[in-house]
Amino acid sequence: MIPAAFDYHRADTLDDALKLLKKYGDEAKVLSGGMSLLPMLKLRLASFAHLVDINRVPGLDYIKEEKGTLRIGAMTRQAALERSDLIRTQYPILADAVPLIADPLVRNRGTIGGNVANGDPGNDQPAIMLALGATFVARGSKERSIPASQFYKGLYSTALAPGEILTEIRIPAPPPKSGGAYAKLKRKTGDFAVAAAAVQLTLGKNGAIERAGIGLTNAGLTPVEAVDAAKYLVGKMPDEKTIAEAAKMAAAKSSPSADRRGSVEYKKEMARVLTARALRKAVQRAGGN
């Protein structure tokens, strides 16, 4: 559990950080909370000659709603999300998830930027971003926005280029009659998900589903967006039959692998059970029934 040698650079501004990243190219890696990166280095699953620490970079730590968009700075710690009234009252899908991420120690350090940029399908927040239809803002030589649905390319592989830093997460503020929920099953405190489902939906005037987003955690090599299931829901009344069918469709999209958390069969079944549970809760929170 001892990492290979690396040089440590502390950036004081975003430009500093970008310069360092440019200088060292793919030998460099951004260090935010370090809760995923450091274990990987210690296990020598990865090694980088240069770490660029962005913890002192100002202006990346905020949670605010502006013009119909929730903006979260990439360096916002999970603990800050956990304590945020805005998140608790307006974004229950995140409020469900955050306390289930790791343990308090990890949440004090871990950032939302690191969680979504890590590219690990076991992270909880990517599936939530998919359900919410979030956009990630990245800064390299210029600034660009990447929809969450186009961000995840493979295991630990994302749309971020080596010289880029994720600076902000933008989430469309849910209109009235919206509800979201995150249902996660884990073996014990501090464990990643056996399976988990993120659901965000909006009900129309007649009570039928107007928009739905469903994301699954640990259900494949990347976070899984259950597009078919979400589409299926649109225009339907959120009754038990519809929920059951959508859950089945979502589970069909999952392709988990067997490990100590369960067999493939078990995990697929859990994706179904948890999607159904998250759907029910989301509907309830949207004021459906």
């Binding site: 040698a5 099953l185 014990k188 079944e269």
Partner: protein
Amino acid sequence: MSEPRTDAKICGMGHSMKRKEDPRFIRGQGRYIDDFTLPGMLYMDIVRSPHAHARIKKINTARALKIPGVLAVIDGPTLAKYNLHWMPTISADTQMVLPIDEVMYQAQEVCAVIATERYIAADGVDAVEVEYEPLPVMVDPHKSLAPGAPVLRKDKEGKKDNLAFHWQAGDKADAERALAASDVVISENVYLPRIHVASMETCGCIADFDTAQGKLTVYMTTQAPHAVRTVFALVAGHVGLSEEKIRIVSPDIGGGFGGKVPVYPGYVIAVAASVVIGKPIKWIEDRMENLQADSFARDYHMKVELGAKRDGTMTSLKIKTVADHGYANASANPSKFPTGLFSICTGSYDLKHAFCEVDAAYTHKPPGGVAYRCSFRVTEAVHAIERATDALAQKLNMDPAELRMKNFIKPEQFPYKSVLGWEYDSGNYGVALKKAMDIIGYDALRREQAEKRKKGDLMGIGISSFTEIVGAGPSRDFDILGIKMFDSAEIRVHPTGKAIARFGTKSQGQGHETTYAQIVAEELGIPAAHVQVEEGDTDTAPYGLGTYASRSTPTSGAACALAARKIRDKAKKIAAHLLEVSEQDLDWEPGKFFVKGAPQMAKTIQECAFAAYTNHPQGMEAGLEAVHYYDPPNLTFPFGSYICVVDIDRGTGDVKVRRFVAVDDCGNIINPMIVEGQIHGGLTQGIGPALYEEISYDDEGNISGGSFLDYYVPTALETPHWETDKTTTPSPHHPFGAKGVGESATVGAPPAIANAVVRKSASGRIRVATAMTTTMRTIERPAGEPV
């Protein structure tokens, strides 16, 4: 014993004295191996095999040796020059220290890098290039034992199969006859998965060979320092190490649980390296090495058959076990008992016919298994009989509590000779179960369960009424590598009436510094606060076999009381001399002798101690000290009844322990708070394997459960609120009626959980199976059901 006989100032037995060791532990002032730094110390790190079975074609060290600070790479051929590449296991099997040509399990030591810094050693490990030729892997113990299986231990001349050993107890024909004559017979396959002690501190050592004195000091994480010294002397005698020139120091230990009984290859390599290089060498495992390569526990595949009359009277028990030992039998068991005390498997029940046998198999896995807080395979035995008892209750449609009550050995039957050969010293099982039932509100819970079942909700109630067998052991039967399993105490009372006491055991968190001091306080009236307890340094402590299998109180604790009594006898002579009366005229109360009928004429133990050095009677030896080596006449038999209630999520199979009541009986108690702590810890280590922990291997022998990422040790949040209580049935043969309690809860808890969770349905499928019964969770409900 109910009320303490001593006051709070003396703090003898029965006082919940705060632990004397805790101030230093709580303040981070404990001294563990990794806290030690010696001048000139070098660091060792180990290259481990990625393959479960492979031929080593080449070890290329050139790149490693180029790293500044890497001094040497030690491999099998290096050790072979000193004939140190193989070593005996505690079970008198053999195990590689470093391989010459073949590796036999994933994470096996291949070679070791010695460097000037810990980090450089790790870089050196990374730079060593080993070429392997992968070979076929045997992971299944049943296949390994099948006729025609390829022989794993080709190093053993003439070995034609993979049977590590066969062991049996009881009369097979008789047990089978009785089974055949039974009205009902149940047959259960019970698998206790491979688990790991996962102690907070991993293993490690500093081997320090002093070239000037020719003396080897090894600071190491060992539960049995004296035994290790003797083993080192026997194994390394040919390279000039002789027992008086070996000192083993076991400092503070962060949990042992049996995992720090064996001698691991890392220790031996470090010792060899220090002797050759002449400098201290530090080796500390990381967590993954600890989980993957150190001795595992359990891994018993048991087929249990239990017969009964229609009225529920148990008639006969038969257990056939296939035990997976990995590539070497490195069990930590007494020589005569290769499966430990497994033949306690008739449990708390008056069974007249029984037979059990164990076939131990070699596989391509790490060697083991250690007695993980299980009193030598008692966890396995208890699990077998307690699971079978519940299966029988289900088959008979009888309440499992009632079935137990009916079959318990009755109080008047003690001392009770079991059909498999043990003499249970004492017990009162029905009272303990009744108490547990009353506390938890058993009848109301059964009513609630019936209601819930009607609605399809899953609620389980599980009982375990276990009998432990601890305190090994009487020298006629018990030895490890020939050394008898007595244990020792040495007490010296100083002139000012304070004392130092040393023991052959070694605390790893059990609180010996407190409990032994309380025994001295009880026997001599010297306040426990004035008794300094030391263990773990073989240059100073009396010889003993160490701490495991709940043996410290039954053996060294007894030795402590008897050594103290020798001191009291001498102090009495001194008191008589000081008071100018005859010894017969004196009476004792804790702390002082007084003249019968004239209590104002008294001498305190402190006054006697002072006189022992300043004014002792002519003709008497000066000083006030004693040593005792205690050879117990029998084992002790703690017991208890545990009941738990679980709620199971029908959708996910997730099990929540709603309540857990533990009624324990460990005889007379030295420190009630410490006993409660032992039970809390043991219960937590009981639910661990029942619900979370398991190590398994795929067909290529790749480990899963080899890091804390997937070896699920329960945290405080998974741990239910333990409700504990006790009954007191003193051991009739132990000097102060104590029995040992370190492992009762780990032994008793798993079947309580399993009995609450596992239930055969009419279709024969198991309702909810967790790690305890299959490797993965399964839920008995049609997949796709709305949940």
